[in-house]
Structures are given as C-alpha cells and as structure tokens.
Amino acid sequence: MSQSQRLPDELPVGNSIDRGAPLTFTFDGRQYTGYQGDTLASALLANGVRLLGRSFKYHRPRGLIAAGSEEPNALVQLETGAYTEPNTRATSIELYDGLVAKSQNRWPTLGFDVGAVNSMVARFLPAGFYYKTFMWPASMWMTYEKFIRKAAGLGVSPVDDDPDVYHSTYAHCDVLVIGGGPAGIAAATAAANGSARVLLVDENNQLGGALLGTSDNAASLAYRDKALQALKQNNNVKILSRTTVTGYYDYNYLTAIEKVTDHLGPGNGGDAPRQRFWKIRAKQVVIAAGSIERPLVFADNDRPGVMLANAVATYINRYGVLPGNDVVVFTNNDSAYQVALDAASVGATVTVVDTRKNISAEFKASLQQQSIRLFEGHAISSVRGAKGIESVRIMGLSDDGESLHGQAWEIVCTCVATSGGWTPSCHMFSQSGGKLKYEESIAGFIPDTTRAKKSCPNLSAGSCNGVFTTSECVEQGADAGLKAAAAAGKPATSTDVAAFAVNETAQGAIAPLWLVPTVHPVGEGNSKHFHDFQNDVTAADIQLAAREGFVSVEHLKRYTTTGMATDQGKTSNLNALAIMANIQGVSIPEVGTTTFRPPYTPLTFGAVGGQESRELFIQERKTPMHEWHVASGAVFEDVGDWKRPWYFPQTGEDMHAAVQRETLAVRQSVGMLDASTLGKIDIQGKDAVKLLEMVYTNNWQKLAVGSCRYGLMLNEHGMIFDDGVTTRLGENHYHMTTTTGGAARVMSWLEEWLQTEWPEWEVYCTSVTEQWAVMALNGPNARALLQELTDIDVSNDSFPFMTMREGTVAGVPARIYRISFTGEQSFEINVPARYGKHLIEALAEAGKKHELVPYGTEAMHILRAEKGFIIVGQDTDGTVTPHDMDMDWIVSKTKIEYLGNRSQQRTDTSRDKRPQLIGLLTEDPTVVLPEGAHIVAEVHDQPPMPTIGHVTSSYMSPNAGRSIALALLQDGINRKGDTVSLRLMDGTVLQALVTDTVFVDQEGARVRG
C-alpha cells in the first residue's frame, strides 16, 4: 500500500527517517510499509490510517492525538504469542521490519464494534457508574467483575512465559539530568565541565527534545551534535537514550527503564537484554522534562484526526508525514501559528481558528503569505465524521468564552491541530515531594522551589519550569547544571552553551479557554467534550461530580477516574482542574492538584525483576554434601533458602515407604543426616558465660569444658524463640547451635543485646554456620561405625552423652558432639566445610557393613516427635512459654536475670489452663491426624464450635507401631488420660487419647547407651 500521506523527498522534512530503508509491518492483519526511523504511529499516519482503536468506556473510534509518550489514545497490542504486550503507545514504538500490531478494545473488528452501543446508552453510564451500581450487594461483585473487565478492559496480557531476558543495575552520579532537550543538554554540558559524574537520560531514541519536531532545525541539531560529541568524550558522563525516568523516590533515589533492544523487534536482540532497569542514586537532579501540549476541550474533540498541534508539526517535520491535507489549527495561544505555517509550507490547505481576538499584524502577515485563512474570536462548535474527521463547524465566541453566536461556517478538513496551551511536566518534581504553584501567565502549574523536599535536592529547568523559548531553556539548563554540580561538591566552571538557533514561536500570549461551548449546554445533546481520552472522561462527568459533591480534587479524580489511566492524565489533568474550578467559581490553585505518582510511563515487571528471575529469583543454599545427596537420589525440601534432603527413595518407593524405612533404620541399625544447615555461633571472651546466662533460661556457670547443654531462648515477651545445644570448648570459649531458620535471627539477637545493653562485656560472637560441615550418625550401630573412622575413643565411658571430643574422622580434623535429636545413640561429626564431601563419602563407604541408611528431614521429624522433642516454629508459634511446652525443667529457679524472665510472671503467661504441649493417640492407630486439626470442646454439625487446642505435629511412627501426634491443648498437662474430640475440615470427628509426649524409649536409655 502506498504511503499516501508521506511528503515527497524534495521537501526539507523527515530528518528522522531513512527513505532508503523501507520496512514492512502489519496492523490489524494488513501489511503496510514505513521507513527506518518511523514510529508505528508515524508509519500508520503515512499510510493514511487514522482509526487506531476504540475507547475504554464508550468504544468510540479513536486515532492519534500526540507524537510522544503522552499519547492517550493510540494503544495497541504489540506482537503475538509469548512476545505480545498490551497497551503500548504507537507513538513510542520504533518501527522495525516485520512488526505486528493489533488495535485494542474492539470486537469483532475495529470498523464495526459492538461495544459502541455504550456510546448510545452513555446517559446510563455516567461517571461513578461502576461504584454506584456494583457497590451493593458486595457478594455480587465477583459476578459483575468478569463482565466489567471484558467490557472496559484494554489489551490482553500474554499467557505464555516471557521469552525475553532483562537486566537491572544500580548507578550513582553527582548530577542526574532528566530530559535531553535543549535545557537538559545545556545542564549536562555545564555540570560536566568540572569533575562531576553526570548521567543524562532521555526517553527518545535521539536527544534533542522539542527541537526534533520543529522546522528549519538543521543548525540547532548541528549544535546538539557538537554538544553531545563533547559529552561523549567525557569519561565522567554517561548518556542513556531510549530511557525514561519512571519514579523519583526519597533521598534522590530514582528509577528508569531503558529499552535496549525493543526497537530491533522480538528475538533480535542477541545476548543483550530486552530492557534494563536503572536504580539511580543521584546527589543532585536537574529536571528538564519539557512540557506537554493540552488539547482544547470542544464538542466531539476525540474524533480521529483531531490532534495536538505540536504532534502535527512533529509528524511533518520529523517524519515527513502530513496528517491531513486540509488542516484546521484551533488554538488559544501563539505556539500553534508555527504549526499552521509548517503545514502550509508542505502543501496543506490550512485554516486557523483562534479563540482570541486582536491577533498581531505580524502573525496575520505571515499567515497571509501562505494563504492561510484566519478566524479570530471563533471556536469549533461541532465536528462531522465519526471514524475520521470530515469537517468542522466554527462560530463566533462570546467575549466571556461562555457561548457561541453568529453564523456557523463549515470548513472541510481531515485534521484539526489543537492547542490549549502547554503544561509543564512537573511529574518528577511532584514525585520528589515538591509542591506546585499556579503561574497565571502561562496558565499552568510550575514547581514551587520554596516548597521542595529538602531530602530530594533538585532543580527544574526549561519548559517544565515554565519557560518556553529555546534560548531561555538553554540558559536555565546551563544555570541549573552549574548549580547542581556545585551543590554536589564538584563545582564546574561556566561553559559556553550558546543558544540553539531555532525558528520558534513560543507559547507566547495565551487566553485560557478551558471548555469550548457548543450550541447545546455541555452534557446535553449527543456531543461529548472529552478531557481525558484514555479513561473516556468528559466535561459533563466533572459537572456530575460537582453536583454530587465530589468537589475535592482527590475525590474528583477517583469519582470520574480522570487521570487514572496508564497515561497518568498527562494531557488531561489541568483541563479537568480548570473545568472544576470554573464550576465551583474558584481559582485553579484553589482546586489544587492531585499527587503525581510513579511510574511516569508504564513499565514491564520483567525489567523491574531484571536478572533476578527463574533460578536467580531466590538463592538456593546448598551444603558441601549436596552433590552426594543428588547422586544418592535425594528428594529435597526447602528449609528457609536451604535445599535439604527430605528423603532418599529407593527404586519403587513412594515417600511414605522411604520415610518409614529411614525412620526404622535409625532405631534398628544406624542412619546419617546432613545437619550442616543448623546455625552455629562461636562465642569467645571472659564474659561469654554471662551472655549465655542472659539469653538462655537455664544455668551455664557450671558447664565443664568439653561438655554440651541444651538451651531454650525466650524473647522479651517470655515466648520461646529458638533452641539448641551449646558446648564449652575452652575456658572462655563456646560453640552455640541454633535452628536452621533461626541462625541469622539469633546472631542478630546476640549482637543487638551486646551492642545496646552490654557493650562493656568482653564477648565476641562470630557466625561459623558455614565453616563446618556436619553429619549426624544416629542409631545402635553408630558407635561401631564411627570407631572405624576415628582416632578418638568413642566408648561410652570415655565419650559419654552430652560431651564433645576433638580428633580426626576419616583422616580429617573433626569435632564430634555426642548430642541427639533422635533419642538414639548419636554423634554429630563436624569437619571444616572443605572436607564435607570427603566425610560423607567415607561414612557411606564404611557404613555399608553397618547397614548405614541416609535419612532426610521427614524421618528426622518423626524420630524427634517419637521422643517428644519440639521443633521451634512447628510446635511453637511465638505464643508459647517453656511452661506451656511442659519444659519447666529447663527454666532456672535460681537465676535472677535472664531475657524473658519477668514476662513469665505476667498475668497471662502465669495463668492456669494455657494451651500446653501433650501427646495424642488416635482411637484408630492407623489414622494420622492432619497437622492443624482442631481439638473441640463440643462437637456441632457446623462451625463455630469452641476450639480448645490444635495438632502441631503428626506422623505415622514405625517405631511406636502406630500414629502419633503432638498438640497444644488447654490445660493439657492436667488432662492426660482424657479422650478429646477433633473435628476435621470435612466434618469427620475423631477421638484421641491425651498422653505424655514421649512415645518411644520413655526411660531414655538408648541415647545414653
């Protein structure tokens, strides 16, 4: 298909495109041609495609409005399959060969859309419709939601895994410059003229900002190139194009997204990531984000062909595309006059409709030269053409701007270039916590530097700060750059940032006209005055909000949803505020502004996650024996971040069979468990024992060198928070162990108390968790097996229970702790981690004739439950005391002070009938209670029924020959011998006997044998 709207090569326009590099692309199934350098928007426009989508709520036909990232309408579904991305702005998509895009929010086709009936029943879909209608009954929301989402949605999310890769990185700089227009380039140039580290970021594929879309810009682009060349040669400067700063957070922490390979098309980026997420810490920020033109709010101003004036100029000058052969420029300020001249100079028939009277003779003369008709004091009263504008009607505008009068003129046109003035982009300043002030002369909000947030030092420069001529922008930019560098402690000497030569008409005089009247009062008749295109919000909706009392700006926003779409109301916010101000009869600053929130433009979750996806999403911590476990067929369990062997199934075994076999073997022959993940802390210093006395509930003064003791730690509330065995290695030297999950927590706990309460104590704690690889040998054959490998005499007499010996095991240095979590004869062999693999291999080899069985965490859980040993975090939940655990034996009656002591005497912790740990034996020994099952006082058919306890651990115990469980039961210690009822989720009621917590070897003979 021909590019009917592409201007001929002879004209001095289209400097961004390469006519020698044609590209083919597909939109809604049709193939088109564009050029390298086009955006999808400019290429579609070149091909005369004006209808690009259907609107969010009324399904009205929509076309392009803008040429930049502020575009509210032209959202497309880009690419297909796993690469598809919804709601991408056609104006921000760089064209590549083979691009495939689809229009959104239409069914069955863009031309004929069933949902457009919404437009006809619009009076029944007023603002706040969803809130009002679906607020009640709440239970029906789930039903409504499906239909609302379908009817009012935008694009479609991909369902397949994201095939792209992403990168996120940190960056630091003295001066971050946001925006690479004249102000930004000047700021970076000035700031970099010393030793400051400067980061210059721009969202376009080339820097230049507003210059890119202006006519006769060769000289200014040449100057830009010179300035950028100098910046690129400076090692302290980094320039990022295709990068949008999306968020500005406390203490000058900003985030930006760089589109690294998006412009190459899916799968064409090679090893490079698709996008990169920058996390930037800047000492100073210069905001040079430019400004965004506002549309005039007139009747049916959303028809395809109605565009922002600067967008028309950009399409002509930058891309060599004439949006329409007959152009009506509709403006209330001077800036659109250059657009009229640009359009006329490339052959368009142009008419200027200005809401103001008394246009200067100079302007009139220049229009006349190009045979442009001018209507002063006129406004567009209505438009014709639904899927593309065909003509406009204009009428005289009253002096107060409230009504139209006189004869209506019909002007045939295919494009309306509209300018309601310029809104400085204060998003970043507002996000940084700064407040805005209203500037009458430009009819817009600008940063109020007296109300900036001190912790986010920044300066605004250029048109985002309310100055609109290039020379002023450059001057402000250079000044801001110098100031920022100095404030960052890297003063720069003043530099020559000669003004960019540019043929420009700044906004100039403006006579605000926030709402253009029509022949009917606004809101009556069929025509609509849109101010928020993406969320389909009209002036009539604001009137409705005002009538219903939603006058506060934040209420207005939520009630009408204005500014809440993905475009964040870039083109709509000020018009909405002004219309509300007008209705209320107050000034615009009295209405105030809503807060700008990140992200400035939508960004992908993929980029935010960056490289931390898939196997790098969370670290998998592995012990030195991991390879052996894998080779031995272990099934792993996640314990914290650790991969621990859960069980080691043999051929044909399911989990139950494997676990039962492993559990039996430990009590019948010998088992080995990788216990390396347990937390270990080396404690040294003459006050070490004082620390132990404080953090544990029992006594430590008399522990002999070489002996081990079990300890329980409480928090300040008297609740159990960790447990473990601590061994006295030397006079003032201890080795503490903690639970696997509690390792880091206990280390911090010790350090916190030492640093805040007892800084004068001479005691040092060092984490040694990963210094040691640990294998626990448990079972009646453990001693015989170990004796084969060690030079230590492991006989019961010379190496009794709860002691530690040093020597060698399998030829490597080892510490052996004779401690037990299974109730069996047990030796925990600790070797430096580098010998861990060697140790397990040696044990496995020597263990063959001792019927050694590797076992995992599941068997370990059963073995300890058979003995009634608790697992902190499973049988405790942060609300249980030692007494609740029936562990009074470990609480010192003589110590005056230890952490959590006083809380034991609180009314609640010392009361009767608290939940207490007991054993449960089900009536039917083959039934294993579900963990979490409730013990109820009375059984009812339906909940609620009074709960008096719950099951914390429950297993089939091969050694007890039946199921066993541990539970917390109110007053449980006194209820041993009672039968209690448990009601399960499915309604089943089970009876169980309350027992002691020790199910195997009540005398404890095995562990000491």
């Binding site: 940190y170 580290r197 490079a272 670290q619 998998e620 981690a833 010998y835 040696a842």
Partner: protein
C-alpha cells in the same frame, strides 16, 4: 585417606566472556579476629604476629606477602593467610581481650577482572564502586543480589574480589555469569 580431597565451594570454577572474567580463588586460610585495635598493647602484639599493622582505616585492607588484613568493623578484622591457621588462632585466642576464629571454610573468594567488571558488580550491589569513592585498597561489606558479600578493590585494571558465604557461592557465581552477558 592421608590426603583427602580438599574442595572449595565452586571447585575453583571460572568463566570468561569478552571483556570480563571471574574465577574462584584457591583455598586459603582465613581468620576472624576481634580485639580493641585502638589499644596499643593488643595492636602491637597482633602486628608482631602478622607482620601487618592491624590499625586500618575503616573499609580498607592491607596486604603483605601472602597475608592480607581486611577492616570489617572497629573491633573486627579478617585475615587471609597461607600460614598455620590453627597455630595462629590458638596463639591469639588466649590473649587478653582478643578473640580469633578459624573461618577458612566459611566462604568462597571470587576474582573479577576485565573492563566490564564494574558493570557486572553494579548489577548486583547498590554500593557505589566508582574509583573516586572505592579505590584500590578499599573494601566494603555490602550485598550482591540477595547475598551478603565482602567486596574489595585490587587493581585499577580493574580487579575486584568478592568473598561470599559457602552456601551462596553458586548463586553469586551464576548471577555474575548471567549479568556478564547483559552489561
């Protein structure tokens, strides 16, 4: 079993790509040392033992021969040595006010070099490693991805070392390999 195989967390793995290399260093002895380094007595006796003055500026390290001392905190140093760790530890442990712990196996040490090394490190650590704030001889305890690391600058070439806990070594190594392709 006289010479059991000594294994480091990554079995001394390495990886190279255009402009960047990473390799796990050989096993070396490491000692965590606690003392009041401001006290003349403690410092002098340690200096004598090590041959390096343990009074270091915060977040710096010093190297002499095959011994290095890293500042970890006001009263904490980390020593890398190829000497007899057991002997050194027991010598220091019994000195008044001193603590010493053998942490030789606690961690893996990776060497990162090549022009892209800074960008690789910046992908995982929020700490600023620009030479103007982090120069040769500097070290810092920071994070890389989800792992806590000890990062040190060893050459303007550039060359950095990352010390990471044993169980995080594979994660960090894989992380480095992945981002090396992206920077």
């Amino acid at each position: 079993m006289a010479n059991p195989v000594i294994a480091t967390p990554l079995n001394e793995a390495d990886f190279s790509i255009d402009g960047f290399s990473v390799a796990e260093l050989d096993y070396s002895g490491k000692i965590n040392l606690r003392a009041d380094f401001e006290s003349k007595h403690a410092n002098q006796s340690l200096t004598k033992l090590l041959g390096i003055d343990c009074q270091l500026a915060p977040n710096t390290y010093k190297t002499s021969g095959d011994t290095s001392v890293f500042w970890l905190g006001p009263n904490e140093r980390l020593v890398y040595t190829n000497g007899d760790v057991d002997a050194m530890v027991s010598q220091w442990r019994n000195k008044a006010g001193c603590a010493a712990v053998d942490v030789s196996d606690y961690s893996s040490v990776l060497k990162l070099s090549g022009p892209k090394a800074r960008d690789v490190i910046a992908s995982g650590t929020p700490f600023d490693i620009h030479p103007e704030v982090f120069s040769v001889g500097d070290c810092t305890q920071t994070r890389f991805g989800n792992a806590t690391i000890l990062l040190s600058n060893h050459s303007e070439a550039p060359e950095f070392q990352i010390q990471v806990r044993w169980s995080f070594a594979e994660y960090v190594f894989e992380y480095i390999k992945r981002v090396a392709r992206y920077v």
